[in-house]
């Protein structure tokens, strides 16, 4: 059932009984008013002591032009036995007789008989000084019942007209609701991309506004989910791609070793180990990258024992360093030194720094990893080497690329690859200071340090 029909029926269901009740109430008031008028007429005539002339044609006779008779008042006298004094007087109505015989002083009724309708009032008459009799006043013609019926019909017609008018008037409102429904449906179809129109300034506008707010939230979430899915697909695809090259190189080394095509088997094994180390670091870096790019999740900060971390990292890279004839040293302070942050992220960042140094220092070179506790409770970790180093201008470009993640997946020896991007991202996420410069031995020095403590206010 449509809104318009529902509204019209509701209006009719309310209006018709209301109007009918009002009309009936009005009719009842009119009837009582007329009865009272008749009673006053009778009392007046009784006091006058004589029967007054009829105020209209005798009962039973219509008007000569055939029109319904107008209101006429007749006064009739009856004896104590309810016999009429006048021959043309009507028989005393039984209902009024019973009422008076029952002791009532007066009785009244509305009647409709033989084409006449009206009201009657009868009272006891002891005014003549003789035996008690009765006087009945009768008003006929356009009586209350006829008026009431007409009024009821008029009221019902009026209520129906009102209902129809409402059905028409609500038309524009129904059109707005239908348009809103179409817009909501369209928005749902295209993933909440389009808002609905917020026209006007009523409850429908408020509904449209609230829908648009909910739509914005849902749209952002849908977009985030799609972006996350796209990132995951890209991650899987890139990981597969990035693993293929070192895997192929490793297969080449192992194949050559198997076939005895390597002049120095140890060198072949060393090269194979290097590819395995690279693939391991790549997988770990890609896993950390996924974690870093997962979104704006809060970093879980816990105390990280940097001394123990450093020992693990050096132990991890010692075999490859030894295979490449690179001396890898480290030093930790006497007491414990802790950083606040994510254990895996920090360890991977330090591991990347050490790996880069070990990779790019030539055979016979040196790498040292130094951890210092600072006087302000902070810490500093340095990776220094005596390799070829990097020019200052190149360092600047390197840091820019690391920040942007450019060529982050590059294996180019000079590009530092994904490793430095991870270091930069971890430093940024933790608030660590990351600096690259020239070491005192001519190579590269990379420094990672705790955030500077906030200055305290002093008066």
């Amino acid at each position: 059932m449509g809104l318009r029909l529902r509204l019209g029926l509701a209006l009719a269901a309310v209006a018709i009984p209301l109007v009918a009740a009002m009309t009936w109430g009005r009719g009842e008031l009119d009837r009582r008013s007329e009865l009272r008028a008749l009673e006053q007429l009778i009392e007046g005539r009784l006091q006058a002591g004589r029967e007054g002339p009829p105020m209209g044609p005798p009962p039973g006779r219509g008007r000569p032009d055939g029109a319904p008779p107008g209101p006429v008042i007749h006064l009739f006298h009856y004896g104590a036995d309810f016999a009429p004094d006048a021959p043309h007087a009507p028989t005393f109505p039984a209902t009024l007789r019973r009422a008076l015989e029952g002791g009532a002083e007066r009785a009244s009724e509305a009647f409709q008989e033989r084409g006449r309708s009206g009201v009657r009032v009868a009272v006891r008459d002891a005014s003549g000084g003789g035996p008690e009799g009765y006087v009945m006043a009768e008003r006929t013609g356009a009586g209350p019942s006829w008026i009431l019926r007409n009024q009821l019909l008029t009221a019902c017609a009026l209520a129906l007209a009102l209902a129809l008018a409402a059905c028409v008037a609500v038309g524009p409102l129904v059109q707005r609701v239908k348009r809103l429904q179409r817009e909501v449906s369209a928005s749902l179809t295209n993933g909440y991309a389009t808002p609905v129109a917020e026209t006007g300034n009523d409850e429908l506008t408020m509904f449209a506004r609230e829908f648009n707010r909910a739509r914005d939230t849902a749209h952002r979430q849908v977009k985030a989910v799609r972006e996350s899915e796209r990132a995951l697909r890209a991650f899987v695809a890139n990981t597969s791609h990035d693993m293929m090259i070192p895997m192929t190189v490793l297969q080449g080394h192992l194949s050559a070793l198997r076939d005895g095509r390597v002049a120095e088997p140890r060198e072949g094994l060393r090269a194979a180990m290097e590819e395995v180390q690279y693939m391991t670091a790549l997988l770990q870096n890609l896993s950390v990258t996924a974690q870093l790019e997962a979104g704006d999740q809060d970093l879980e900060r816990r105390p990280v024992d940097l001394g123990a971390l450093l020992q693990r990292v050096v132990a991890r890279h010692a075999p490859i360093a030894a295979a490449n004839a690179v001396e890898l040293n480290f030093a930790t302070p006497d007491g414990p030194v802790h950083a606040q942050g994510d254990l895996t992220l920090i360890e991977q960042a330090v591991s990347n720094l050490v790996q880069n140094a070990v990779r790019y220092v030539p055979r016979g070179g040196h790498v040292a990893v130094l951890l210092d506790g600072l006087a302000d409770g902070g810490w500093r970790l340095r990776v220094i080497d005596d390799g070829p180093g990097i020019e200052p201008a190149q360092i600047e470009r390197l840091m820019e690329r690391a920040a942007r993640g450019d060529q982050a997946r590059s294996r180019h020896p000079q590009g530092q690859g994904l490793g430095l991007h991870i270091v930069h991202a971890v430093a940024l996420r933790h608030g660590f200071a990351l600096e690259l410069g020239r070491s005192e031995y001519g190579g590269l020095e990379v420094s990672l340090a705790s955030p500077k403590p906030a200055p305290t206010a002093s008066c």
Binding site: M273, V276, T280, Q284, S287, E300, R302, A308, Q311, R312, A315, R316, A318, P319, I320, A322, E327, N329, F330, A331, T332, P333, D334, D342, L343, T344, L345, H366, V367, A368, L370, D372, I384, D385, D386, Y441
Partner: protein
């Protein structure tokens, strides 16, 4: 005690630790590992993903009965897993894959007892260093050392195997009123090496760091 369910990997790890001179017993599942938690041993190498139980449950049971060092092995690299393992009492966490040398280095690190560092008397071969009495003897002969030389030797011997930075040593050992520098420290090291004779090679120069007391040095 080695707990690892993968046959190939378990066999390799067993071989590595035996090649490094250790004796090892290999357990392949969680339920058996729980039954062995009361057995005496020096170190547990514990994988986390086990059939018939989880490595962390074995760790909890171990910690309820002993303080034996535990080296966790796992392919899971997530921080919350590592933190959980360390909070439950694991001493170290080694993520797969790993080189054999890395494994043995971590095993030795777990087995290193910190109590020995604070011993009053250090003996390395014929070298005896009485930290409380501030005396040194080499092959039974008393060797006189200056205050700086003794403090230098004591600091390095306490951290034997671990390098100490030159800057830190200079700051801690040298007399601040004499404005000693790292170069001054180098001179003291040179003199100390001479006094130690054959054991002078125990004082190794560590590139980029400073010095280290190598227990393998000397005769």
């Amino acid at each position: 005690m080695l707990v690892e369910d993968d046959e190939k990997l378990g066999g390799q790890v067993l071989g590595h630790v035996r090649d490094a001179g250790f004796q090892a017993h290999w357990i392949r599942d969680g339920r058996s590992a729980l039954a062995f938690t009361t057995e005496a041993c020096d170190l547990w190498i514990l994988d986390l993903m086990l059939p018939q139980g989880h490595g962390l449950d074995v760790l909890k049971r171990l910690r309820s009965v002993s303080d034996v060092p535990v080296l966790i092995l796992s392919a899971q690299n997530e921080t919350h897993i590592k933190v959980r393992a360390l909070e439950l009492g694991g001493d170290d966490y080694l993520t797969k894959p790993f080189w054999p040398e890395e494994l043995i280095a971590r095993v030795r690190a777990c087995l290193r007892r910190p109590d020995a560092v604070h011993a009053d008397c250090l003996r390395i071969g014929g070298l005896v260093l009485d930290l409380g009495g501030r005396r040194l003897s080499v092959d039974g002969q008393r060797v006189e050392l200056t205050r700086v030389e003794f403090d230098l030797l004591a600091a390095l011997a306490r951290r034997r195997g671990g390098a100490l930075q030159r800057g830190w040593l200079a700051e801690q050992i040298l007399d601040p009123e004499r404005a000693g520098t790292e170069r001054t420290l180098d001179v003291h090291v040179s003199r100390l090496r001479k006094k130690l004779g054959a054991y002078g090679s125990c004082l190794a120069t560590v590139w980029g760091v400073g010095y280290r007391f190598d227990v393998e040095g000397g005769t």
